[in-house]
C-alpha cells in the first residue's frame, strides 16, 4: 500500500490541478434494435499522478466511457449538441438520421485545457499514445501477431517522438527492461506468440509508457491473467506510476484490484455513475445500494459464509432503461420517487468529496452501510 500513499501525496500536491475533467459525457450507439445509450451523463475527474478506479458490472459503460474520450468507438460522428435537458433526445435523433456514423459522443472531457471530444482528428491522434496511453484487457490478442514486438514498440515511439529508428530501438529495449522483460536486447525481435500472457501485458505496458504519457487508461489489465501474474502486473503498474508520475484510470470489475491501487473510485451502473468517493470511503462507508450489493458479493477471507450474497436480477437493457433510478428494479430500498425521477450525483453531508446518486436519506444509508459491512466483517464495522 506504500505506492498508494505516494500517489495520494502527489494528488494533494496538485489538488486543484485536474488532469482529466469529464462532464456530462454521453455516448450513444445506433444498432438494428435502436439507440443504445452506453454512457448517459457521466462526470468524473482525475488529478495528476492519481489513480482512479472505475468499477461496475460488464456492460455498464466503463470501457465505452474511456474509449469515447480517446475517440476509439466504431465510426464516431461529430455533431455539436449543446448541453441541456434535450441533449439525449437530440443525440438519438442525430444518430437515427445519420448514415455516416454509428456512434456519437457529447459532453466535455478536458485534458490539459483541451476538450478531447471536440479537438481535431489529427490532434486527437497526437494525444492518443502520446499524452494518454491505453492498455487493454486481453494481452493475447492486443498485439499484432505478424509484427515483432520491437516493430510495434518502435512504431509507437516514431509516431510521437522525433527520433531515428536506431534511437527508437534503443528506447524500446530500455522500455522492455523497465517492465522486467529479461534479455530485452534479444527478445525485442521476438513475436507476440513467443511470450506468455503476463509477459505480453508487460510488453503492452512498455508500449503504453514509452512516450511518457500523463495518463494511462488500463481497461481490465489483469482480467485475462492468472492470479499470481495479476499481482505482478499490478505491482509493476504501481512501480511505473511512482517512477513516471503517471495518472491511471483503472477500469475493472474487481473490487479487490481497486482496493489495492486506487485513490478514488467511481462506481458505474447502467451507463451512469452511482457513487464516487475516495477509496477508503467506498469500503468503510458506502452510500449507494448498488455499492452495498457489490461489496456483499465480494468473497472475504475473515468470515466463513456458505454463499456470497448476490444482487437480485439482471442489469437493465441500455436500449430501454427503466424509468427513474436505473437501479430501482433491483433495489430493496426503492420507493415511489425512485421509480419516477432520475437521481443526480450529490455530495454526502459527511464528506463533500464523496458523491452518490440515491434518494434514500443519509441516516438510513449510514445504518444500512453499517449493517452490510457488519454482515461480513464485524471488526471493521465495529471500528467504523
Amino acid at each position: 500500500m506504500t505506492s498508494t500513499a505516494a500517489g495520494k501525496e502527489l494528488a494533494t500536491d496538485g489538488a486543484n490541478e485536474l488532469l482529466l475533467d469529464v462532464r456530462d459525457l454521453r455516448t450513444y450507439f445506433k444498432t438494428d434494435d435502436g439507440i443504445v445509450k452506453a454512457v448517459d451523463g457521466v462526470s468524473f475527474s482525475v488529478g495528476r499522478g492519481e489513480t482512479l478506479g472505475i468499477v461496475g458490472e460488464s456492460g455498464c459503460g466503463k470501457s465505452v466511457t474511456m474509449m469515447s474520450i480517446l475517440g476509439l468507438n466504431p465510426k464516431p460522428g461529430r455533431v455539436n449538441i449543446p448541453a441541456g435537458p434535450g441533449r439525449g433526445e437530440a443525440m438519438s435523433k442525430a444518430l437515427q438520421d445519420s448514415t455516416k456514423f454509428v456512434s456519437l459522443s457529447t459532453g466535455e472531457a478536458f485534458f490539459k485545457g483541451e476538450n478531447l471530444l471536440t479537438v481535431s482528428g489529427s490532434r486527437l491522434r497526437e494525444i492518443r499514445g502520446g499524452d494518454i496511453a491505453m492498455i487493454f484487457q486481453d494481452p493475447m490478442t492486443s498485439l499484432n501477431p505478424v509484427h515483432s514486438i520491437g516493430t510495434q514498440l518502435i512504431e509507437a515511439t516514431l509516431l510521437h517522438q522525433d527520433v531515428s529508428k536506431k534511437q527508437a530501438r534503443k528506447l524500446a529495449i530500455e522500455a522492455l527492461k523497465d517492465v522486467g522483460i529479461p534479455r530485452a536486447e534479444r527478445r525485442i525481435d521476438d513475436y507476440p506468440h513467443q511470450f506468455s500472457g503476463g509477459m505480453r501485458q508487460r510488453v503492452m505496458i512498455a508500449m503504453a509508457l514509452i512516450n511518457d504519457p500523463k495518463l494511462l487508461i488500463a481497461d481490465e489489465p489483469t482480467t485475462a491473467l492468472d492470479v499470481t501474474t495479476q499481482a505482478q502486473i499490478l505491482e509493476l503498474m504501481n512501480r511505473m506510476q511512482e517512477e513516471h508520475g503517471t495518472a491511471i484510470v483503472m477500469i475493472t470489475h474487481d473490487l479487490g484490484v481497486v482496493a489495492e491501487v486506487a485513490d478514488e473510485v467511481v462506481v458505474m451502473y447502467a451507463a451512469r455513475v452511482a457513487e464516487r468517493a475516495p477509496v477508503d470511503n467506498i469500503y468503510e462507508q458506502p452510500m449507494h445500494p448498488y455499492t452495498w450489493g457489490l461489496l456483499g458479493s465480494l468473497p472475504r477471507l475473515e468470515t466463513d459464509v456458505e454463499r456470497l450474497t448476490q444482487i437480485p436480477g439482471q442489469p437493465p437493457s441500455l436500449l430501454r432503461p427503466p424509468a427513474g433510478c436505473r437501479f430501482n428494479p433491483r433495489c430493496t430500498f426503492a420507493f415511489d420517487r425512485c421509480r419516477r425521477e432520475l437521481p443526480e450525483l450529490v455530495a454526502t453531508l459527511a464528506d463533500p468529496s464523496h458523491t452518490q446518486a440515491c434518494f434514500l436519506d443519509e441516516e438510513t444509508k449510514l445504518r444500512e452501510a453499517h449493517r452490510v459491512l457488519a454482515s461480513f466483517d464485524p471488526e471493521a464495522a465495529g471500528g467504523g
Binding site: G129, G130, N144
Partner: protein, 311 residues
C-alpha cells in the same frame, strides 16, 4: 509423393472401369477383330492393369517420358509442353486480372459496409458466382468479339517465336487474343475473392490489435497497411496458391469457348478418344502444378507469417 501416386493410380483405375475399348478406337472404324487385337498388343493394353501402371511409372521415373498418344502416336511430353504455356498465359493473366479487381473492391467495400459501393460489389459477386463460365464467355464473345469486333474472337498466338505457318504472333497478338479469355476466366474467381477479401478485412478491422494500433495514435492509412491488410491477406495467399495450382490443370470451359489449345482442351480431346497416355500426361502435369504451388505457398507463408516460421 503419396498424393502423386494416389492421383495417377485412381486415374488408371477409373480409365479401366469405363466400359470402352481404346484399342478398338485406335485401330480405326472398320477394323477387324484381329486388327484390334494387334492394336491392343501394340499399345500394351493386353497386359493386366497393375503391370501397365508399373510400366507407366517406370517410364515416367526412368525415362522422364509420358509415352506416346494412343491415337496419333505423338510424344505426350511434347503435347503437354505445347499446351502448358497456353494455359499458363490464361491462368496467370487471369490471376492478375482477378486480383486487380478483387483487392480494391474487397477492401473498399469492407471499409464502407452497406454503402452503395458495397451493395453493387455484392451484386457483382452474386452474378459472378452464379453465372456459368460458358455463358459469360459466350456473351463476351458475342458482344465484344463479334458485334463490336473490338478483339479477336478466338484462337491463340504465341508470345514469342511463332511456329512457321502461324497466322499471328508476338506480344500484341498474344495479348489481344487473350483479353476475352482472361475476363471470362477471372470473373468467377474475382467474385469469390471479393467476398473473401471483404470478410477477412472486416474481421481483421475488429481485432484487438487494430484497436491497439489506433490507441497508439497511428493514422488510419498506417493502421490499414501495417495492421489490417497484412493480417487480412494471409489467407488470401493460401487460396491464391491453391487456385493457381488447380487452374493450371486446365481452365476447361474458357479454353473450349475461345479455342485455346491449352491443357483443358487437350484433356477433353484425349478423354473423347480414350487416349490414356495423354490423359495421364495432363493429370501428371496438373498434379505436379498443384504440388509445386502448395510448396510455394508453404515457403511463402513461413516468410510472411512469423507464427509458423520453423524454429
Amino acid at each position: 509423393m503419396v498424393l502423386f501416386i494416389a492421383v495417377t493410380m485412381v486415374t488408371y483405375v477409373i480409365f479401366f472401369v469405363i466400359p470402352a475399348n481404346p484399342a478398338a478406337m485406335a485401330a480405326g472404324k472398320s477394323a477387324s477383330a484381329a486388327d484390334i487385337a494387334r492394336a491392343e498388343k501394340r499399345l500394351g493394353l493386353d497386359k493386366p492393369v497393375p503391370i501397365q501402371y508399373e510400366k507407366f511409372l517406370q517410364r515416367l521415373v526412368i525415362n522422364r517420358s509420358l509415352g506416346y498418344s494412343f491415337t496419333n502416336r505423338r510424344d505426350v511430353n511434347e503435347m503437354v509442353l505445347a499446351a502448358a504455356p497456353v494455359t499458363a498465359s490464361l491462368v496467370f493473366g487471369g490471376v492478375i486480372l482477378w486480383m486487380l479487381m478483387a483487392l480494391p473492391i474487397g477492401i473498399l467495400s469492407a471499409l464502407r459496409p452497406r454503402s452503395l459501393l458495397d451493395r453493387s460489389a455484392m451484386v457483382f459477386v452474386l452474378i459472378g458466382i452464379s453465372a456459368p463460365v460458358i455463358w459469360i464467355g459466350l456473351v463476351l464473345q458475342y458482344f465484344i468479339g463479334f458485334k463490336w469486333a473490338l478483339t479477336p474472337n478466338s484462337g491463340y498466338c504465341d508470345f514469342i517465336n511463332p511456329p512457321a505457318g502461324a497466322t499471328c504472333g508476338g506480344p500484341v497478338d498474344w495479348f489481344t487474343h487473350l483479353i476475352l479469355p482472361w475476363f471470362t476466366f477471372a470473373i468467377l474467381f474475382a467474385a469469390i475473392y471479393v467476398r473473401m477479401i471483404r470478410s477477412n478485412v472486416m474481421d481483421t478491422l475488429g481485432e484487438d490489435y487494430v484497436r491497439t494500433a489506433r490507441a497508439k495514435g497511428a493514422p488510419e492509412t498506417q493502421v490499414m497497411q501495417k495492421h489490417v491488410l497484412r493480417n487480412a491477406l494471409l489467407p488470401v495467399v493460401t487460396m491464391l496458391g491453391m487456385d493457381i495450382g488447380i487452374a493450371l490443370g486446365g481452365a476447361i470451359f474458357t479454353e473450349y469457348i475461345f479455342g485455346l489449345p491449352g491443357l483443358g482442351r487437350l484433356a477433353i480431346q484425349s478423354l473423347e478418344a480414350f487416349d490414356l497416355p495423354t490423359i495421364m500426361g495432363v493429370v501428371v502435369f496438373s498434379t505436379l502444378a498443384i504440388i509445386v504451388f502448395n510448396v510455394i505457398v508453404d515457403v511463402l507463408y513461413a516468410g510472411i507469417d512469423p507464427r509458423i516460421r520453423l524454429e
